[in-house]
């Protein structure tokens, strides 16, 4: 296993991000939101719904350039799993993955599809898949890119518990195999605890980082007591705000 240190970090410094609401007035969504992830780390942004997590994610992805501040991304490919699967409905599962990742070879594709239970769905169109399967295709597509930076915007929202947990385990296994910086947005403290090395707790609008919690590895063996302590820390940070 080569050290992941040759990749640059992800540095996000957003001084201000405003949007114009329906009435035409500017609303500040993000204010002084800054954090840093080193190579190989998984970061989780958690905060109340509507606090601007997705806006932050779009800025990190480079989809929104209208903000004050700077984002330094690690060099290399970017991959994102959106809240909705965002597959091309008129292309098969395999084509969806290959279009995003033209360099992926047959062996690698098979090794991605099999653990996600997608092997027999290769030739299907996204409209023939359940939401859970479509989300897995979105995950497979993101990994096929071999990203230097992986962004996950509530990737398991609206999935039932056992399925979400199974996909979480797949995600941990895939992240462990590659030196990739992962940024996850979620409102579920448990999910953040199970997946992240660093948890950034965000305030309500305009969002800023209230505090950072480190989760010690190995994360697979986290005890219920530790998980509860992290939840308490999150609550304490929110209460102090």
């Amino acid at each position: 296993m080569s050290p992941a240190g040759d990749l640059g970090p992800l540095e996000v410094r957003i001084a201000r991000k405003s949007v114009t609401n329906a009435a035409g007035q500017p609303v500040e969504v993000l204010a002084h939101l800054a954090f840093r992830l080193a190579a190989g780390e998984v970061g989780a942004l958690i905060g109340p719904s509507g606090c601007g997590k997705s806006t932050c994610m779009r800025i990190v992805a480079g989809l929104d350039a209208r903000f004050e501040g700077a984002v330094a991304r690690p060099p290399g490919p970017l991959a994102m799993v959106f809240q909705e699967p965002r597959l091309l409905p008129w292309r098969s599962v395999e084509d969806n993955i290959r279009l995003a990742a033209p360099a992926v070879d047959e062996a690698e594709l098979a090794s991605l599809l099999k653990p996600l239970g997608l092997a027999e769905h290769r030739a299907h169109f996204p409209g023939e898949l359940s939401l859970g399967l479509a989300r897995r295709v979105a995950l497979a597509r993101a990994f096929a890119v071999r990203p230097a930076l992986l962004l996950l915007d509530e990737p398991f929202v609206s999935l039932d518990g056992p399925l979400a947990r199974a996909l979480e385990r797949e995600l941990v296994a895939l992240i462990g195999r590659r030196p990739v910086i992962t940024l996850l947005v979620t409102h579920d403290v448990g999910e953040a605890t199970r997946l992240a090395d660093r948890i950034f707790v965000l305030s309500p609008r305009p969002a800023t980082v209230l505090g950072e919690i480190r989760v010690e590895r190995p994360r697979e063996t986290i005890s219920p007591a530790e998980a509860r302590s992290i939840e308490d820390q999150v609550e304490a940070l929110r209460g102090a705000a």
């Binding site: 779009r58 989809l63 970017l78 279009l99 995003a100 409209g127 597509r141």
Partner: protein, 246 residues
Amino acid sequence: MAARLASLLALLAIWVAAAHFGDPRHLPGPAAVFTAMGKAAASGELFAAMGVTMARVAAAFVVAMALGSALGYAMGRRALFDQIADPWIVALLNLPALVIIVLLYIWVGLNEVAAVAAVALNKLPNATVTIREGARALDPALDEMARVFAFSPMKRLRHVVLPQLAPYIAAATRSGLSLVWKIVLVVELLGRPNGVGFEINEAFQLFDVSLLLAYALPFTAAMLVVEALVVQPFERHVSRWRPRPA
């Protein structure tokens, strides 16, 4: 299917009856028309005229669809461009076909370029407004996906944009073909020395309704075949991913 066939037979029966009781010079029966058709086909004139007209239809259609699609896409994607180009398109939409044809014949001359351009210009605004609707309805979520995964412009066009525009392109094609071939006949009647429109003008001079129908009916049939063999298979192909209703 049976209803369609019965309806078609009823039309034929009315034609026979009307021809039988009316003046055969104004409305010849099917037999007379088919005889005239056979004569024109045997001399080769029917196929020569149809070939020339078909080539004009194809040229005008391709030019109008290519320019109209590009223009409609740009207008659907850029609000400022839409505001600038929209009055021109509205003016062109409402300019009578005949005015465009005559003006082009005067400005460009009685030649093939003017003929094809006149037809294309008549079809262009329809294609533009249809494709513009499609471009406005493009899914921004897929656009973002393509940006994140660094799709090249060609890949984006082929796999993201065109599949979404396909129903609009099919609609523009369908309405376009019928419009284009009707206008091509007028253009030929006014200023070309060959083609179906020219032959129909001849038939008009001679007051020969059999000859007129002998040229008009095969050409209509040919356009129906194009619709059935090209447009409909294209539509089926581009919508194959849609889950079929059970």
